[in-house]
Symmetry: C2
């Protein structure tokens, strides 16, 4: 009996696997260390928008957003520099081996201005973003911001963002004036996203005034707590409002390893599934939240460096729909990159998280 | 070379393990099927309290709780029967092989009445509960309800519940008038629980009026969504309010596989840990939320029949601090019991969840 090279390799591999199984050790191939790293929830400010937001905060009420933006709109803060200085950002990216940032206007974007100002600010900001990308087309891509407070103008800006500015999707910083995307007035925006076949990145915003009080006195206006309650309620409202029945091809990206939903998901499905079966509520959506998440949502890892939760979400949700993100400059780029470099998941999954899925979902140029 | 019986068994076992490892199958010892099953979040109504709650709902405002209690306070509903008929309950327990229910007054308990009525109702309800237990001392144990709206009287009722009525701890149905247990006015209650060395079961309640609006129009007043946002905010407020620095031996039981917190926990720790290290907030607690959960909290499985989430929470939190619960009559007793009977965890862990931990934590009689 002769054995050619391929047979020999197959046999060796099988023997190796058997040996590893017998001793209880897993076969550990040399791990890949070089990746195209694309981070997809990376924040920036357009200075004119930041200044307008700062001015609004000085003249306005106690909205929790003004606590969130106090540190980001002040040109003297390190966060402001991180959000506006693209040379510094490129140095950090080079240092950490990050190929590309997918940029999005930081929360609350242009969503607190009156409709006319918001629309104008979105235009200014998207031009600024397109200019940054034009100067570094291999290092930056971006999401067009919109002012949902003027849905008709928002749709025009979405079309301009994709067709003229060549952006990769849209950023909506969650609620607008305490209203969520289940409200029919916003449905032209969802229709446009579906028609343009680009995702909406739904980023948290501070809880609206309509639920402010329990989040106010301990500083639960941001990612310590508050963001989580706000955005998960937003997603629940979109689901309950049958948005995904009406727009079955709409795609939504959410960050922070699923915004906490995976700790509640089975129970949410269970309670709403029961409601669906009993047909007690004619408004009940056609699909469970789990089903909608797996059809219409993508999830990023932004701000979470916890391998057990990553694996749990991967198992529940599927690695095909997950992407890596840093949440720069709010999170440390070096630490977020090191976590993803070393996390113990198969290289094939790491490639999906680091770049393959982002290239596909946001139609980014491949190299 | 001779081999005695012990050597032979050891060698066989090693061979069996090696064979199992090679084929990828795990050795499956015969699983235990008989357990002392104690369910620890089992709801009941005292008819007089249900009637007072119903009357309050007819005369009052749009509080979300009245949506929650519409189905539970009406004697014509199956839920009301489930909450009040103990003969029927015993038949269900016998059918499913459940040894004991740890009973607690269903949400919102006596917490919506004026202080005097609430105090009186708590007294009536705890007497009713003690009477039910006296009639079936091997089948029922219970938690004393209190009216936090009168903290001084609540402390007296806590002492009476333990010392005279021989109850096993306390039930607080989350917020009271939109205030949470971080408010210093409630600290005598926490001090009493610590002093009496019994746990407080913190059960969700509908979101308070101060955060009502986003939870109102889609029916997010209960466990579909709303309960989750309300109780996780309550726990966050207790942590941020340094309750567990002040009462380091206070023990809190939460249900529903950790009330969703485990989907957010790493990020919450990360954000508040950063705050702690920067010492930007002198009110910052001494321990992270994770550390507090592992020191001061117990978790029950109520209403969640999802093995992956159970294993994830067990890994993160520890099986020593977890207990089984059905959430009768809101959840199906047969299904909840079947889930726990068959879930693929070691028998030693199943014994802890089914009864050993509950016996220890609530000081229940063992058999």
């Amino acid at each position: 009996m002769t054995m050619d090279r391929r047979d020999f390799l197959t046999a060796s591999s099988a023997l190796g696997a058997a040996a590893a199984a017998t001793t209880g050790a897993r076969a550990q191939p040399r791990r890949r260390t070089s990746w195209r790293r694309i981070a997809v929830e990376e924040a920036f400010w357009t200075p004119a928008v930041a200044e307008a937001q700062r001015a609004l905060g000085l003249s306005s009420s106690r909205s929790l957003d003004f606590k969130t933006t106090r540190g980001t709109c002040d040109p003297r803060t390190p966060l402001y520099r991180g959000l506006t200085d693209f040379d510094e950002r490129l140095r950090v990216m080079d240092r950490d081996g990050v190929a590309m940032h997918l940029l999005s206007l930081t929360t609350p974007g242009v969503q607190m201005f009156d409709p006319e100002t918001g629309t104008a600010m979105a235009h200014i900001s998207n031009d600024h973003l397109a200019d940054v990308i034009a100067r570094h087309p291999t290092r930056f891509a971006g999401l067009g911001c919109i002012a949902p407070q003027s849905p008709k103008e928002a749709v025009k800006e979405m079309e301009r963002s994709i067709r003229q500015l060549n952006l990769s999707g849209f950023i909506i910083n969650s609620h607008t004036d305490g209203e969520f995307l289940d409200a029919p007035k916003y449905w032209p925006i969802l229709e446009a996203a579906e028609g343009l076949d680009r995702p909406i990145y739904l980023h948290p915003r501070s809880p609206p005034d309509s639920m402010l009080e329990p989040f106010d006195d301990y500083g639960f206006h941001n990612a310590r707590w508050g963001f989580q309650a706000e955005i998960s309620t937003h997603i629940m409202r979109m689901h309950a409002g049958k948005v995904f029945d009406r727009f079955p091809k709409l795609t939504i990206v959410i960050g922070h390893m699923g915004e906490g939903l995976f700790g509640n998901l089975w129970r949410i499905d269970h309670m709403s599934d029961a409601g669906r079966k009993r047909r007690t509520d004619p408004r009940s959506p056609d699909l469970t939240l789990s089903e909608v998440l797996k059809r219409n949502f993508y999830i990023t890892t932004s701000g979470v460096e916890h391998a057990p939760l990553m694996r749990f979400v991967m198992d529940q949700f599927g690695v095909d729909r997950m992407m890596w993100a840093i949440d720069y400059p709010y999170e440390d780029s070096a630490r977020a990159t090191a976590f993803m470099n070393q996390v113990d998941i198969p290289d094939a999954h790491k490639a999906q998280l680091f770049h393959l899925n982002a290239e596909r979902i946001f139609r980014l140029p491949t190299v």
